[in-house]
Symmetry: C2
Subunit: 337 residues, 2 copies
């Protein structure tokens, strides 16, 4: 039997627009030995998130940029194949910060053990019970702080974060309006997820008029994943003391010359708060979040879609689906054993 090799998709150059195969080529390298305290996992699921595009750039960010030559960083679920730690045994399933690679080596202390036999599909721990679900949970409840009867507007509303935001907002008794990029997505969030209204931003024409029509009482909380022109339009529809929760601006990631929002004057005109956040800010409350999300999920109150694509070698073209909206739910690479 030959020594297993580790296929890695790594950052060869920093993309300025959409990343290409020359920015993110692959290499096959020997599997390293774990040092004391480390484990090596065989990655089974790799999470593809818009944030990864930010880490490819050298701009200041909430975690270090990916270094040139390093594998593309992402959340993964894998099976331990070698362990030099008492914390993990061969065969354990863990969630970890890993990469676009077949095997990841890391400190066992930073890996979270998952129960393979809980009845919950492992991929759920990268979606509704993972970073995107937790982003929605803390971002809406802690940053957006919606009150019953208020209007919550969500962009990228059929996405992994936005779809959960809208459903939690409905549970808070809010009027919930989602913005998405196809009639099918709009139909899904209203018919299946219980959003009150949906706006197809590709066909609605004037964004501001469309938001005003869907939010006749104005907007109290805007959960913004998108930025750009939709943010500018939403700013014009905010009520006094509205909150804007921002966890990313996907419309700007591949456009270094994207202009800043024009309508920020609304902050003063309506005493608005715009708050940026990342899910890592809430690390010490993850257990609370997962427990609540899981209980809603078990009770059938939280629906979600996962768009699972087989094969590590599909990772880059699959990642790019995030930026044209052609993904259909939380995007995950499955790389079966």
């Amino acid at each position: 039997m030959t020594e297993p090799m580790n296929r890695q998709y790594y950052l060869a150059s920093r993309p300025t627009t959409l990343p290409t195969p020359s920015d993110v080529p692959f290499r096959d390298v020997p599997l390293p030995e774990p040092a004391a305290g480390e484990a090596i996992i065989r990655n089974l699921y790799i999470s593809l998130d818009p944030a990864i595009r930010g880490w490819m750039s050298e701009a200041n960010n909430y975690i270090e940029p990916i270094a040139i030559g390093d594998p593309i960083r992402s959340s993964v679920i894998g099976r331990v194949v070698k362990s030099c730690s008492d914390l993990l045994r061969e065969g354990d399933i863990v969630m970890s910060l890993g990469g676009w690679e077949r095997y990841t080596r890391g400190s066992a202390a930073t890996m979270t053990k998952l129960d393979e036999n809980s009845g919950i599909p492992l991929s759920n721990f990268l979606s509704v019970l993972g970073p995107t679900g937790l982003t929605a949970y803390f971002g809406l409840l802690d940053v957006g702080r919606p009150l019953a009867g208020e209007t919550v507007l969500v962009s990228a509303a059929a996405g992994a974060v936005g779809s959960v935001v809208g459903q939690i907002a409905k549970m808070q008794g809010c009027h919930v309006v989602g913005i998405a990029g196809s009639d099918e997505k709009c139909d899904w969030i209203t018919s299946e997820l219980g959003f009150d209204r949906a706006i197809n931003y590709k066909t609605c024409g004037d964004y501001q008029a469309a938001i005003q029509q869907a939010c006749p009482q104005g907007v109290d909380v805007y959960f913004d994943n998108v930025g750009g022109e939709i943010l500018d339009a939403a700013l014009m529809c905010l009520n006094k003391f509205a909150r804007v929760a921002v966890c990313g601006w996907i419309s700007t990631y591949n456009d270094p010359d994207a202009p800043g929002p024009k309508n920020l004057w609304q902050l003063v005109a309506e005493s608005v708060t715009i708050q940026g956040f990342v899910v890592l800010d809430y690390q010490d409350r993850f257990a609370e979040g997962v427990e609540q999300l899981a209980s809603w999920m078990m009770a059938g109150k939280l629906r979600f879609r996962e768009d699972i694509v087989d094969g590590l070698d599909n990772v880059l073209p699959t990642f790019l689906k995030l930026f044209n909206g052609s993904n259909n739910g939380k995007l995950i690479i499955h790389n079966p054993e």
Copy 2:
């Protein structure tokens, strides 16, 4: 004796850049009679604030735009000359929302009586004990929420708001850095007001480098009166969980094509909160604010400058001093009896 006439500077057309005498001409009109519940006051002091420029535009704002044909709105202190209300008597001194005019007619219930013999100069109720002092007080303590040992950066730091912000921040035990537009102003805020460092933005060169040098621990609270390029530079110097308090963006008021900030990505990178506010949001706490500001003033802990210009007919050229920074403290028109 002839019937007294009321000279009014009124909005004839909405300026797109700096207002000109043709945008704000004057007229002499007969003094109206007060209706039941109203009083007429002879304006003695007229407050000139950057916010007034915003009210001249038709953009959405925290109060209605000034209607075409109406006197320019501003805070005033005046003496009651006629009253049709039990609340006020002829001779009383009041603070009120008034206008750039010799006499203002208004509801007596909205006028606040002041004690002419308290030993506090009346003009102080338009500056340190008035809207600008209260803006500083609530904006810093309630929106900025600085902790002892944190770094507070203030733009327009020699202005009526910024100078008070910096002194209150020093009382909170903060490292305080001010940005101002002349060496004289920089000298005043450090030597007289106790700011730790000052940046002359007209001579410092690269804003970001200058802020980084003056704030070696980064910026935790940025109190922003200015917007534009200085905001963009300050955004790059913010610490994790920094707060940006915004009560106006004077650099943009006379430039309808001013681009939006380029560095808002810092909101997500550093989990920053930008909060817009206006002093009217705190109306139910004005008494608390005035009491605290007055006690600091009496104790010699709060210094301030007033730039008082005599003569209603100087109102427009005096107002324009705000926009080239040639005022020297809180700008007030004095129109003696």
